[in-house]
Amino acid sequence: MAFNPETAAIRFGTGLSANLPAPTSVDQMLNRLKGPDKMADRFVVGSFDQVEAVMEKVRKLNKIRRADPSKGVEIQQQIKKLRAQARRQQVEWLRAQMARSIYTEDGLRERLVRFWADHFTVKGKKSMWRYAVSTYVEDAIRPNISGNFAELLKAATYHPMMLMFLDQVNSVGPKSVIAARTPKRGINENLAREVLELHTLGVDGAYTQNDVYELAKLFSGLTYRRKTGFTYDARMSEPGPETVLGKSYGGYIQDLFHVTDFLNDLAVHPDTARHLARKLVVHFVSDDPDEALVAHVAAAYRDSGGDLMTTYRAMLTHDAAWAMPATKAKQPIDFVTSSLRALGVKEQKFTDLKWKSIRTHVVAPMGLMGQMWENPTGPDGWAEAAEHWITPQGLAARIQWAMTVPKLLRPKLPEPAALAKTALGDRLSLALLQACDASDDKADGVGLVFAAPEFQRN
């Protein structure tokens, strides 16, 4: 079995749409992915600079307050307002990202952006950083999903959000200039460990605790500065050389290119190929993947030196990618957006939604479904296994959402049976069709369609 439009839309895209046609071929999907990013222009998400500008305003206000404590209350109010704006902005950026999934014909792109954003999970740990996750995805992930993995790896690793999240910003080499001056400062292993364990080789990969420590020393110098953004500070850097994964890096001059050399090597490591291929296949095809498919994708990655388009093509042209029955469960964000896409919510209606409505209609329900937006438990991001999501409490939240929110976003609900046909095509089961006919409440009938296993699974 090979390409079919419904699987292309449901498994590799953002779902079947009430208004837009499903993809017609793998070439079309890949050409769109390679082509211009139309959705990014139509539904705008800000860049990290914008958040930085707000942080700068807060900093200046605090400076004034310190100089003139009599203005304390007034300034406190202004800062509070800026924070509230940033919080609102975060939700509006979620709305824009959802709109891209709902109204796109390039669904593979949206799915890959979420896949890689999750692979390179970051969280904001304090103040304004908490509201800036979308800007990281927009700056570092989205523009780099169809080039070489090395570019994506470097963009994510060097982004201020990542450097902050995994505590790289204050890590200094024990023999660095800074450490000589302030002996209490030294290494922080966090980023080095997760780059090896999560982002490249995988936990079963060929690295040891010693590699983690050596890499942490090699990484020392990577930092973030308010005025210059991502910065390599040689004064923080361990003189080196460091031997990581059996190869020596640096040692004669402290410079970013040693780190870049290492990341370039790491991107094409065979363990990276295996780890990424498995993750990609697990995310898109099956929690229990076909080993031949994984091996095929890994080989394409390896042979192309980490070219992502070649890697995606390998997955999409392998029969097993299409033949596997739909056993995965959509993550809450995919469940919610694919529902609204099938429902045919009017673009104007959706983009006019107030941020508070997005909170009650999307953010809170997704949290109950187990996906606290931009706030996964750890740096490993969201779980894949269907059993993780379809728990009694998680499924209850999906059902509650399916029965209540659609009628708020499209008050003139479609006939449940017609909606089921739109949303599922040939996947529609007789049991669901009968249930649609038997339901005497339209909103409940619509809820049944979205709550149905054939809609929840992809």
Partner: protein
């Protein structure tokens, strides 16, 4: 890893049972309960720094390892026994210590070693297996313990929160729910949902349990969807779910269940991964843990006397402070034990020392006791389980020779 297959089989197992017993179970009768004692297992995700929480201030090497992280008197930490002091963030638990209802186990770890991955570490902690269990994780040790108990009903084991708890997952049916979750369905929708889920074991099992729990926990909601104001109610519920203090709602929910027919509850407290500025970073986790124990004590009433709370983490952190006033992933750590059933006022375990040569691989607190030993000892004391069952089915390969008694 066969995680997905493992979970799939388990839910099918749940289905088999619920289907046989009808998904609409009446609340269990108390006579059928396996024991009157209660066990609460808290998984502290992110690797709690045992050396900062239960501080060996009496070890002279500590100062050298931790130049900026304060401990003992300098950190306003209460003295426990002349050698250990308790982090200020848990100071409200000191009355429990005085009453003998609070204990710790120190220099403990799971058998997980060397790669120091949170995720493998948590898998092994919850699976209760040795290093050879990595990649073969199928179910959780608490579930296997339930399997060894008589008279276990669907609410005997209860996993609470929005995320799945591997430690309580397995072949024995348990309940899973989050205090913020509601399910208000019309009679008809309920019937139709059961119809469309019939062919999908995972959905079928989950919805049966959801419907049954919603009836038990939220009886005023049943049939409420017929009202016109279900949207208003939904909005209200959604706003409520976003409020802070989710951990308190979990603790209250656990206390409510434990006062009824639940005997084993499990949930997580997150936020222990203190790589940077630990003095600040540790506050959140500690305050959640402290709140949780105090809410349990307060709301369990006389049941507190029959309760053991056991809090554990995937591994400890480096004995040495790192270069950013935090600590990195380590090995040996500490466990927190509380409840009227605990023989408290004591820090269990031998002390390996913190000298250069004492440290595991020259960097971590050297573990001298297995986390599973403590759990097994507590379970033996609470539920009278056979040592052979604990060493065989619950914690395969564990040797309980020398396991202490942690309960009264």
């Amino acid at each position: 890893m066969s995680v997905s297959r493992r979970k799939f089989l388990q839910r099918v197992g749940i289905l088999g049972c619920s289907a046989a017993a009808s998904p609409l179970l009446t609340p269990m009768s108390f006579a059928a309960l396996p024991s009157d004692n209660r066990l609460v297992v808290i998984i502290l995700r992110g690797a709690m720094d045992g050396l900062d929480v239960v501080q060996p201030y009496g070890d002279t090497a500590l100062k050298g390892l931790r130049p900026t992280l304060k401990f003992g008197e300098a950190a306003e930490a209460a003295d426990l026994d002349g050698f250990f002091s308790l982090h200020k963030g848990l100071s409200k638990l000191m009355p429990l210590w005085a009453k003998g209802e609070l204990a710790f186990a120190h220099a403990v770890s799971t058998p997980y070693r060397d790669k120091r991955s949170h995720f493998d570490g948590q898998d092994l902690l919850e699976a209760g297996l040795g290093m050879d269990g990595l990649g073969r994780v199928r179910d959780g040790w608490l579930n296997r313990m339930l399997n060894a108990m008589a008279g276990v009903g669907p609410h005997t084991g209860f996993a609470i929160g929005r995320e799945e708890m591997l430690v309580l997952t397995g072949g024995v049916p348990v309940s899973n729910w989050s205090p913020d979750t509601h399910l208000n369905l019309s009679e008809q929708s309920r019937r139709l949902l059961e119809q469309i889920y019939h062919e999908d074991p995972l959905f079928n099992a989950s919805v049966s349990e959801a419907i049954e729990l919603a009836e038990v926990l939220d009886p005023q909601m049943v049939g409420a969807a017929d009202d016109d104001d279900d949207v208003a109610m939904m909005k209200q519920q959604m706003m409520a779910s976003m409020r802070g203090g989710a951990h308190k709602r979990v603790a209250e929910f656990a206390a409510n269940r434990l006062r009824e027919d639940t005997r084993v509850a499990a949930f997580s407290i997150n936020g222990w991964d203190t790589h940077n500025n630990q003095h600040q970073a540790l506050k959140g986790g500690l305050s959640r843990l402290q709140d949780t124990i105090l809410i349990l004590e307060n709301q369990l009433g006389e049941v507190w006397g029959k309760t053991a709370v056991v809090a554990m983490t995937e591994f400890g952190r480096t004995a040495r402070e790192n270069g950013t006033r935090g600590t990195d992933h380590g090995t040996g750590g500490a466990m927190v034990l509380a409840g009227g059933a605990i023989a408290g006022g004591k820090v269990y375990g031998q002390w390996p020392g913190l000298g250069e040569a004492d440290l595991y691989q020259g960097r971590d607190l050297h573990p001298l006791m297995d986390v599973r030993d403590v759990s097994a000892g507590v379970m033996q004391g609470l539920f009278g389980l056979d040592q052979s069952v604990l060493e065989g089915a619950v914690f395969p390969g564990l040797d309980m020779t020398g396991t202490m008694k942690f309960t009264r």
